[in-house]
């Protein structure tokens, strides 16, 4: 069977087609991926069909800075179904300026082995 996907790794947004079949034990086996401009597209298609992950960006409360919010990002993608759990932890945090880009704001968020880091200096 063929599955169509849009690669979300970069703004090119290549339209991918994965040729897959359901194996005897019910898992999805991907035979080939086409339509990708670069190898990251194939990796994305394989991951998306078995274990979808997303990078999450948001802000945390900032005291004593130029703005009242500091932008943050997950240091690596997290499972898609944990996005709202991660958001809840992010919302509970408040930091003080100065902050440097890539400073760790939350360590091991939700026990996922991923940090929440500052995405700018302020």
């Amino acid at each position: 069977m063929k599955k169509e996907l849009t690669c979300i790794i970069c703004p090119m947004g290549c339209r991918l087609e994965a040729d897959c079949e359901t194996t005897e034990n019910g898992a999805l086996a991907i035979r080939s991926v086409t339509g990708n401009t670069c190898p990251r597209g194939e990796r994305y298609a394989r991951a998306e069909l078995s274990y979808p992950e997303r990078t999450v960006t948001s802000t945390v409360v900032l005291q004593g800075g130029r703005y009242r919010r500091l932008p943050v990002i997950t240091s690596a993608p997290i499972p898609k179904d944990r996005i709202f759990d991660v958001m809840e932890e992010i919302r509970a945090v408040s930091v003080c300026a100065p902050v440097k880009i890539h400073d760790i704001i939350i360590e091991n968020v939700c026990g996922l082995g991923v940090n929440i880091i500052a995405s700018r200096s302020l």
């Binding site: 849009t6 979300i8 409360v61 703005y67 009242r68 995405s119």
Partner: protein, 423 residues
């Protein structure tokens, strides 16, 4: 009056890339004038990731991308005055600006680069009927309040317009706990990047209503309800298709317009379609020594293309300041028919090219499995098969000097339905 070799108006990605491009080409007397409190432009409020894969080889958030640039500007010692609003620009390249640090100043530049970005079209520009309650925002303004100041525009949200800003805000508001009831798009296709439709709408089951528009706005003090209607192929609402949504917030993402009042004051000719200056292959406007790049020239979806254009404008301004441009004949580059929205640059000097010309264009409609044709003086010269072409995505085509030398008057672009055999 102070003088300066190169003044750059606007310190967004276009302006900073232009400054670095000019510096690396040997210009040292450079001044960036930026009206905000810090350089960075629109990037500072775009906290999502997806920037810079081409320029920096990795995917950054808007603020991280801006920080790369400001770091380079500081390292090179390029002067940037912040809080500096440019009030006037004249054809003789004198500028007036005002800033808390310097007060009212005039400066005479030998070359100027326009990098003022664009602004959002407000509600008035699209004429939605109904009352005038609070709770109606342009998406970019809402983005700025939310991401820089932590002010949440509302709790039950509808978004009109499926451009990238609208899509990004649909996800952002959802993550912050708002309920986004839908995104409506007048056209039968979205104007946003495919990846944003996937990861901002589909991931959160937010419905996208294509060929729909908002036909009524209700509420006295605060927005209470909007009415959504389907539109026909002429984009007119179809009676009987109305349905209402109880919302307290409506975000408008209905287009961006290059910010060109300064260009107009200087007598620079604008293009009716891009709403930005007419430029040649060096990104020089119709006023010699004034160049343009980024969203002030034409609206871009990808910052990497903005930065590349900025770099090119900086290098061109350096060439203007050192060697100058020799007088030379020029040809036109334009759409051959209405399948193409615009082509940029609009003029080319084939004889003085020292590198290939990258033409940028947008199609006027969505096309699948078509042929892009390039015509020299009305004769088909080149044909390229294209699987998908969308107005939302800027296309590029590079032609070499040899491709252009024998064009007498006009190079034209169009979309043909099938493949036409060149024999």
């Amino acid at each position: 009056m102070n003088t300066c070799d190169l003044v750059i108006i606007g310190g967004g990605s276009a302006g900073m890339a232009a400054a670095i491009g000019a510096y690396k080409s040997g210009i040292r007397d450079i001044l960036i004038l930026e009206r905000d409190a810090e350089p960075g432009g629109i990037l500072l409020q775009c906290i999502h990731n997806g920037f810079g894969l081409h320029t920096f080889g990795e995917e950054l958030t808007g603020p991280s991308y801006a920080e790369r640039f400001t770091g380079q500007i500081n390292e090179l010692g390029i002067r940037c005055v912040t809080g500096a609003l440019v009030l006037h620009l004249r054809a003789d390249k004198t500028l007036d600006y005002i800033s808390p640090q310097t007060g009212y100043r005039q400066v005479k530049a030998r070359a100027v680069i326009l990098a003022m970005g664009c602004r959002e079209r407000p509600r008035g520009a699209i004429g939605i009927p109904g009352t005038r309650p609070a709770g109606i925002w342009t998406a970019g303004t809402a983005q700025r309040y939310l991401n820089l100041d932590g002010i949440m525009p509302g709790r039950r949200v509808f978004i009109l317009g499926s451009g990238d800003i609208g899509l990004i805000m649909a996800r952002r508001m959802t993550l912050e706990g708002a309920q986004v009831l839908g995104v409506a798009e007048l056209m039968p296709y979205s104007n946003g990047l495919q990846r944003n439709i996937k990861q901002c709408l589909e991931d959160f089951d937010i419905p996208l209503f294509l060929s729909h528009t908002v036909t009524d706005i209700r509420g006295q003090e605060r927005l209470r309800e909007i009415v959504l209607s389907r539109v026909d192929e002429n984009r007119r609402p179809i009676p009987g298709t109305e349905r209402s949504f109880a919302v307290d917030t409506l975000l408008l993402s209905v287009g961006l317009v290059p910010e060109n009042y300064l260009s107009e004051e200087a007598g620079i000719v604008l293009h009716p379609r891009t709403r930005g200056p007419l430029v040649d292959e060096a990104l020089q406007t119709t006023v010699p020594g004034i160049f343009a790049c980024g969203n002030v020239l034409h609206v871009h979806d990808l910052v990497d293309f903005v930065s590349a254009e900025g770099t090119q404008a900086g290098e061109s301004a350096a060439r203007y300041l050192t060697d100058g441009f020799a007088d030379s004949r020029s040809i036109l580059a334009a759409p051959a028919d209405r399948t193409i929205g615009y082509v940029l640059p609009q003029t080319v000097h084939p004889d003085r090219l020292d590198k290939p010309v990258e033409f940028k264009f947008r199609v006027a409609d969505a096309y699948r499995n078509v042929t892009l044709q390039v015509l020299k003086d009305g004769q088909v010269y080149k044909e390229i098969r294209k699987r998908v072409l969308l107005p939302a995505e800027m296309e590029k085509l590079t032609l070499k000097k040899d491709d252009l030398l024998d064009v007498k008057q006009e190079l034209a672009f169009r979309i043909a339905a099938g493949h036409i055999d060149a024999s």
